[in-house]
């Protein structure tokens, strides 16, 4: 009898354990997201409106092109397109750089693996503002990179304030997020599978394409998501390395917030959230289908 009672009491305690977190999660995770939607679809006096969302799609501004002529563009669609473009480029570079590195680390001795992963994580924990600022001083026209190139009689190159500088910043800041998930999948991969493929006549490239890559796909997908999401929504890198010339979607949200246009800021955030959700659903499905094959 006593045992039963104490087991029942354990049950009650267990459900009590979850109570504070459940309340917290609803109040501070779920409800705030509802507030984004609420603000996005209301005006300053909290009456329903579609104005904020239509403004995102229809607002126009004049941009002077390379030929010196003014062109009429859709402001926010242009910004969103640019964010998407730079984020995709950065993610692709991270993947191309990170995949071989993850493979090399995963095949190294246990000790080397541990040291390498710690080394890769260290920059991640440095303040991201300082990291980005450091790149600004490196890439400046009179910065260290040009000093270095000049030493060899090369350059100078003008990078700061270009889209390339923003991409360099994104790649640097988010590179560890690509390498870590790919590494952790590869480290768990069964070496016997690779040996078997080789024994059965698969060449080096064949093993990579038919065995390693399909098996590492879950890591690749989470790496892509983990780099794409922060780089699409960043707002500091573009201000510092793009000299404020390349407004990204994060800058748009931040500047609306700074100007106290909370409803429009919410509308941009809402649209960004929907697009990212769609992207992720697509990626996951792609990964699942590939895994099923």
């Amino acid at each position: 009898m006593k045992e039963k009672r104490s087991l029942r009491r354990a049950r009650v305690l267990e459900s009590l354990c979850l109570a504070p977190y459940s309340v917290w999660a609803v109040l501070f995770i779920v409800v705030p997201l509802l507030f984004v939607a609420y603000y996005a679809f209301t005006d300053n006096s909290f009456h329903f409106t579609l104005g904020n969302v239509t403004r995102f799609f229809t607002a126009t501004s004049k941009v002077s092109g390379a030929d010196g002529l003014d062109r009429e563009v859709h402001t926010y669609l242009l910004i969103f397109g640019r964010s998407l473009k730079l984020a995709v480029i950065s993610t692709a570079i991270c993947l191309l750089m990170g995949y071989p590195a993850a493979y090399i680390i995963a095949r190294a001795s246990d000790r080397t693996q541990k040291v390498m992963i710690t080394l890769i994580m260290i920059p991640m924990w440095m303040n991201f503002l300082i990291r980005t600022y450091a790149w600004m001083t490196i890439l400046q026209d009179t910065g260290i990179l040009n000093g270095f190139l000049g030493f060899f009689g090369l350059g100078p190159v003008h990078i700061i304030g270009t889209e390339a500088a923003v991409v360099i910043g994104m790649v640097y800041d988010y590179f560890p997020y690509m390498i870590l998930p790919i590494y952790s999948v590869m480290a768990k991969m069964d070496v016997k599978l690779l040996e078997a493929a080789r024994d059965l006549g698969c060449g080096g490239l064949g093993v990579l394409r038919r065995v390693i890559f399909p098996l590492s796909l879950p890591g690749v997908v989470s790496g892509i998501i983990m780099v794409l999401i922060p780089s699409i929504s960043t707002f500091y890198i573009s201000q510092k390395l793009g000299n404020g010339k390349f407004y990204l979607i994060g800058d748009a949200i931040e500047s609306q917030y700074a100007a106290n246009n909370l409803h429009f800021a919410a509308a941009i955030a809402f649209i960004l959230m929907i697009v990212l959700l769609a992207c992720m659903a697509f990626m996951q499905r792609f990964a699942n289908r590939r895994a099923a094959v």
Partner: protein, 275 residues
Amino acid sequence: MKPAAKVYTALILLFLFAPIAILLVFSFNEAKSLSVFSGFSLYWYKELLRDYETLNSVRNTLLLALSAALLSTIMGTAAAVGIDRLRSRVLRAAMDTVTNIPMINPDIITGISLMLMFVFVGRLFGAATSLSFWTMLIAHVTFCLPYVILQVLPKLRQMDRSLPEAAMDLGCTPLKAFFKVEVPEILPGIVTGLIMAFTLSLDDFVISYFTAGNGFQTLPIRIYNMTKKTVTPKMYALATIIFFVILALLLISNLSDRDDSQILEAERQKSAALN
């Protein structure tokens, strides 16, 4: 490693550490320049120690990170225990989804969403500004919680369920069984979660930026304000100090991780012996 692989990893490490090395070197620069090194000096470290606003923001950051880490570790550990015991699949899936939201959502959306709610609720109560230390603390606990839960949950799954049951059979109250038997088993996960929460909170800029009140400035926000103007090597001196603190924390967390693998190894040997 093959030579080509060695060269490649060396290049990757060069890319990752060159900017940090530059920070470290130029923090000892005599002159104000961030590109020409003219001589060794500790001048900027002295300047930093005289900068009251920055020191105050360091104090604020530590206070916030410590409170957020403790709160999220306690609540997160309890939550992990609760989630681990959940029987209903639907509830478990719902919990997983909600826990994933702050990790998957871009920081800017987490920040904006909390800010909108704080502002709205503040307005309901007629407050001119509702953002303060407390709103930041709520925000930080919210984004730290998932990481704590994800550190503790696997440790609970690895634990032998019959251990706390045996303790209760032998007369322990459920609470006592939890603290005497379960906590020591999952302690490595709790410690890693605590350290992760602490460093995440320490480092966060975006969410803090949106949920900070005027009166309470954390270090990342202070750095943001500093980089709006031209920066002196004072900030690099600050970065250097942060770098070594982070290095120490990483080493500590790695050490606690090693304990953990020893425990696992011992467990494996034990079960092998039993079979």
